[in-house]
């Protein structure tokens, strides 16, 4: 890398930045990626296509405005620009999350105000633009139940694997195991979907028939669905959220203070007793937040669930059975993506997306709050 004078760098930087500022309107996307021999201001111009709201790019521009300060300030100009760029990128992320909420609300509003049904309490879903009638009860039910099944199944297994990796397996083996679990996360969800519906679901039929014997419990009533049930979806989702739940538990278990572990050994604990005395109490918050992150992932999973769940006939009665087809928020949107031609009917789906966004936001925020509170304690 050729060494360049700091001042020259600053001047070039300032000029580029000023130029970039003028050209905010037509964003030039010349395909500049990060190579660390490029001048930093180039990064600004390649970040601009995302700048949906130019206001939020303020910080770097403010920094550039101050380049006219003379001599002694020069060394700090580079710093200001750089800090501004980095801060601007951070501001952009914050703005993006806010904009997601704002735009979904704006686009959902006309449809929501025209909704002849109660959005929160109705089971209707008709997006015929002359009479919009839609509500989220069925979607909410399917989404929550399929995610809960996944979480209940994946939770104990993920803890088991995390304990296996951190407390049981020798170090070499545990690295391999961790890699294998990461591979599960790397498989695209559409492949889980086609595998789930064409390979796994037929094999789950006997399990389903077994549960029919327990149909005095409303959850296990026979609704006449051979495959493509909420139960099938939940099992595939369990596999899909296993890696993230394992990863979080693994992290907190691995960070168990060594003196806690040794104290347990010194008391003559068996391995399981050591885990109960030292590892699990320490990792509880992490495990809970991992489970909630998994839940968040499950709530929003789209294509696998879209491919797996069968749609029940319109107007079929509400049922609490998990051996029923159904549509989640995400699969409803994905199934009807082709019918977004009218703004009103698209609005109904965007409203469903908004509810999903709020749902995942709450679950994820809660998960982070739990894990961060834990951090403060340690």
């Amino acid at each position: 890398m050729p060494e360049r004078d700091a001042m020259t760098d600053d001047e070039i930087g300032a000029r580029r930045l000023a130029a970039g500022q003028d050209e905010v309107e037509p964003p030039t996307i010349a395909g500049e990626s990060v190579h660390h021999h490029q001048e930093k201001p180039v990064l600004l111009s390649s970040s601009e296509p995302l700048a949906i709201d130019p206001l939020h790019d303020e910080p770097p521009v403010v920094g550039a405005g101050e380049t006219s300060i003379g001599g002694s300030g020069r060394a700090r100009i580079g710093d200001r620009i750089f800090r501004g760029l980095a801060g601007g990128a951070s501001g952009l992320i914050i703005a993006l999350v806010a904009l997601i909420a704002v735009f979904l609300v704006i686009k959902a509003w006309p449809a929501l105000s025209d909704d002849k049904s109660n959005f929160l309490l109705s089971r209707d879903w008709s997006t015929d633009t002359s009479t919009l009638r839609f509500g989220i009860v069925d979607l909410l039910w399917a989404t929550v139940v399929v995610s809960l099944i996944a979480m209940i199944l994946a939770f104990p297994i993920s803890i088991g694997i995390a304990l296996f990796i951190t407390q049981y397996a020798p170090k070499r083996v545990s690295k391999g195991v961790a890699y294998v679990i990461d591979l599960l996360a790397a498989i695209p969800s559409i492949i889980y979907g086609i595998w789930g519906i064409t390979v796994l679901a037929p094999k789950l039929r006997p399990v389903q028939r077994f549960f029919y014997h327990l149909d005095f419990i409303p959850l296990f009533k026979n609704r006449g669905f051979a495959t493509g049930t909420i139960f099938d979806g939940g099992i595939v989702l369990a596999v899909m959220i296993l890696p993230i739940m394992t990863a979080i538990s693994r992290d907190v278990f691995a960070r168990t203070p060594r003196h806690n572990i040794e104290a347990a050994w010194a008391l003559g604990a068996t391995r399981w007793e050591m885990i109960r005395l030292a590892v699990l109490p320490y990792g509880r918050a992490g495990v809970v937040s991992g489970a909630m992150l998994g839940l968040g992932r499950a709530l929003g999973e789209t294509i696998a669930i879209t491919l797996i769940l069968s749609k029940p006939a319109t107007g079929s009665p509400f049922t609490t059975s998990i051996f029923n087809g159904g549509e989640t928020f995400a699969s409803k949107i994905a199934n009807n993506a082709a019918e977004f031609e009218s703004a009103k009917s698209a609005g109904a789906y965007i409203a469903a997306g908004l509810v999903l966004f709020v749902l995942t936001f709450l679950v994820n925020a809660a998960a982070r709050a739990i894990v961060n509170r834990k951090k403060d304690f340690v």
């Binding site: 700090r76 992320i93 735009f103 104990p156 790397a186 559409i190 007793e273 968040g296 294509i303 936001f361």
Partner: protein, 319 residues
């Protein structure tokens, strides 16, 4: 970090009766949990390779498109889909990488203030945003508000929302690992902070960041939901990211699933496991193509993951 070996000898003697039993039970359950997790992984990979192999090894798979090929026709390839996936993901990376690395730099090098705290929180939230919601957002902005037409570029923009948090997270970890002594040595020589970051910190963390970028690419390469909403599938080759329908591997798989259902619903016909025609005279090659495209996609994602691991080996800061 992991287990402590010496005291475990002691505990082996100590365990008796129900304590010993509980300990063994826990051991069995923990091993069982790992075994259970392996089942779907092995089963899925076996299925994809077993059923996809035929199509992937057929002539012209990587060089032909699906132009004019119906579900009952033999032949055709995935070139159009690979090209679409590459373009969409590359464009997404070009936008995501600089933003994400700048955010990570801010969090690590300038962090501590309220902006850093809010950003960390928002990156967490962005990590949890479902891909379909990201797609709806881009739809609401570019297609519904600015009247854009379906095109690969919008899918890329939705993927940016999914890729940025992945890269921020890994880059942040890597930047944190850069020893403070390096920064201090640089400051002591009178080098300004920005230049220290640019010339000292970033190059030191470079391989780690690269790993994060490749993992981010691997994550979005298989995303389907945004493509479903923002760009339509075409069996033809379309190299133009900015206009027209564009194929991609996930959309091609979805298209084959549609044909699968079509063929199963009454009028059409399919080959059974032995290659015999069932209920009619028209063969259905959609399953072959579906698994072939799935195998191609998995192969690409796995290769990216392996590259990430391989690059990670040369990491200066974690060694």
């Amino acid at each position: 970090m992991t287990t402590i070996s010496a005291p475990s000898l002691l505990s082996a003697k100590k365990g008796s009766g129900s304590r010993k039993f509980k300990n063994s039970l826990a051991t069995v359950l923990v091993y069982l949990a790992f075994g259970i997790a392996l089942v779907p992984l092995v089963w899925l990979l076996y299925t994809v390779i077993d059923r996809g192999w035929k199509a992937v090894t057929s002539a012209g798979w990587f060089t032909d498109t699906q132009r004019g090929v119906t579900f009952s026709d033999k032949g055709g390839g995935v070139w159009h889909a690979i090209l679409g996936t590459l373009e969409e993901v590359a464009f997404c990376a070009v936008i995501s990488v600089p933003i994400a690395i700048l955010v990570a730099i801010y969090l690590v090098e300038y962090g501590g203030g309220w902006l850093a705290r809010v950003t960390t929180f928002m990156v967490d939230i962005l990590t949890g945003v479902p891909s379909i919601v990201a797609a709806l957002f881009i739809y609401a902005v570019f297609l519904a508000t600015f009247n854009g037409q379906f095109a690969g570029v919008y899918a890329s923009l939705a993927l940016v929302l999914l890729m940025v948090p992945v890269i921020v997270r890994t880059s942040e970890e890597m930047l944190k690992l850069v020893p403070n002594e390096l920064r201090e040595a640089s400051y002591a020589l009178g080098v300004p902070k920005w230049k220290t970051i640019y010339r000292i910190v970033l190059p030191t963390a470079f391989t780690g960041i690269t790993t994060g970028v490749v993992l981010g690419i691997a994550r979005v390469a298989g995303e389907t939901a945004p493509l479903l909403v923002l760009v339509k599938y075409t069996p033809n080759l379309n190299g133009n990211l900015f206009s027209g329908f564009q194929a991609s591997l996930p959309l091609m798989i979805k298209e084959q699933v549609n044909n699968l259902n079509q063929a199963n619903s009454g009028t059409a016909y399919h080959l059974d496991a032995n290659g015999n025609r069932v209920a009619g005279a028209v063969a259905n090659y959609a399953p072959d193509r579906m698994w072939g495209a799935a195998l191609t996609l998995i192969a690409i994602v796995m290769i990216l993951n392996l590259i990430a691991r391989f690059v990670g080996r040369f990491n200066k800061v974690t060694q």
